[in-house]
Assembly symmetry: C2
Homo-oligomer: 322 residues x 2
Amino acid sequence: MISSSLMFLVSRRRLSASAAVRANVGFIGLGNMGAPMAANLLKKAHGVTVFDVNAHAVKQLTAAGAQAASSARGVAASGVDVIVTMLPSSPHARAVYTGENGVLSGVKSGALLIDASTIDPTVSRELALAAAHKGAAFIDAPVSGGVLGASNGTLTFMVGGAKEAFDKAKPILECMGKNVVYCGGPGNGQVVKICNNLVLGISMIGVSEAMNLGVKLGMDAKTLASIFNTSSARCWSSDTYNPVPGVIAGVPSSRNYDGGFGSALMAKDLGLAIAAAHDIKAPLPLGGAALQLYNLLSAHGLGQKDFSVAYQFLAGQHDAKK
Amino acid sequence: MISSSLMFLVSRRRLSASAAVRANVGFIGLGNMGAPMAANLLKKAHGVTVFDVNAHAVKQLTAAGAQAASSARGVAASGVDVIVTMLPSSPHARAVYTGENGVLSGVKSGALLIDASTIDPTVSRELALAAAHKGAAFIDAPVSGGVLGASNGTLTFMVGGAKEAFDKAKPILECMGKNVVYCGGPGNGQVVKICNNLVLGISMIGVSEAMNLGVKLGMDAKTLASIFNTSSARCWSSDTYNPVPGVIAGVPSSRNYDGGFGSALMAKDLGLAIAAAHDIKAPLPLGGAALQLYNLLSAHGLGQKDFSVAYQFLAGQHDAKK
């Protein structure tokens, strides 16, 4: 078992708790999510050394007070105690950690590596093992909350890794987020994230199908939702984030599906769930069908709209030509 | 619009409120659900006249104090103020109401007809219209709560029809159930029931897929469920009726999926949703896939097991040969 041997390796090394709040932090991956997260770290008075292939993104952070390094290795070799990475996919994470100029080629023993990317849990476990061989602790800490949560410092982090690494990471993560949830050993943060979004992606389509059917059969949408919400159809997709415009104020469905969590991002997370499930032959009949529907939304120009736009699409109210 | 013209017809007739609690009630359909429902009516001191094609079922009710009629028409012609029907499907309901010896051939003007069957909402609306032409009020009042709820008098009724007919029916329904929910005009009780169970049938499979994936990827089931239950995967199928044995005490998954709501019954309700949706060309991509999975459960001998057995089946833990 990768996870148990890994936990053993990591638990043999004591991580310094004193480095927590005033640590020098490296930050790699300054995209839509990473840039505001790094900016929030800077605001909390940590020293921050950044790297991104996008020079413009780096310049914005250095203008705000960050140091710049010329590679992921450069960040690691700059002597930082903690490195946070926020990357788009598994191949990017592999390259940034284990590539020629990657973090692990320059990391110091005792460093804490926090990968906030959403990637394949198997890759997270590989990286945790590779980090442990360099004497560094690695935790996977994928987020929910989107760009708004990253800007406002209200992200939720789902963390997998050794408990003492989690304890050390918590004050760092709390500079960027509101909720930091320990999910167990290495990779488990990713597992929780993809499993959560698997349920969410499915239930949003289920609620959308049922609300559309009910409304088309003559029900008032608010009445139907209110009965769902006190019965066995009750779920977050109905009672907190209802996809029908006007049922709940302030959610994306009530502002033309703008903001929120894009259909294309939901498709990405479902793709990760399906890939992980395929590796272990776990069947996802509805997860697979849900992915196809979110891809269909992207094909119809709705990839950047909140994923609850599934309702509008099923209802036939979206016309890409208009 | 069928529903608005129907509401108009019904609202023109005043229904007598005085008939409510001490009414003479007819009861047609003494199956697993109907028999205990009729018995509960008898216990509350209503005069009850029954009919069923199954003579044995009739005999058990007459032994408990009911009168017997020789047909549905016979029940209607016996002078009862209220008739309750509990039938297996739309064709049965059509035959019992509009057939040669049906209720409508013998019903008196001003009678209240309560159909507690779960059937196609379009058929409910047809029957409500046909009843209105005879001067009778018809409400659709499908239930949730199963055989146990029918025996204990704790059913939930979802009621569609004119509001004054609902008000008159409420004390009758409260002899057999705990919750009586008004859903709007004719057919809306059926619409709410099939839409609720559409969400439920989908979300149970979604939770089952995600719990199986998470557990197979190394998560503790209780930890995973507890994180779902405070995040966007939160739903009744996870926090109240979790399909993984041992996560919640006292639910069917923790007693070998016995009792509860059978997979075959869930398939029946999804079939109704899909038929109703097909008539109006409302797409149900996940509802359709969910129906196929519940039918697969029946094909594997799990039709009488609670529908949360989907988890066990996806996990490959059920072996029909053993």
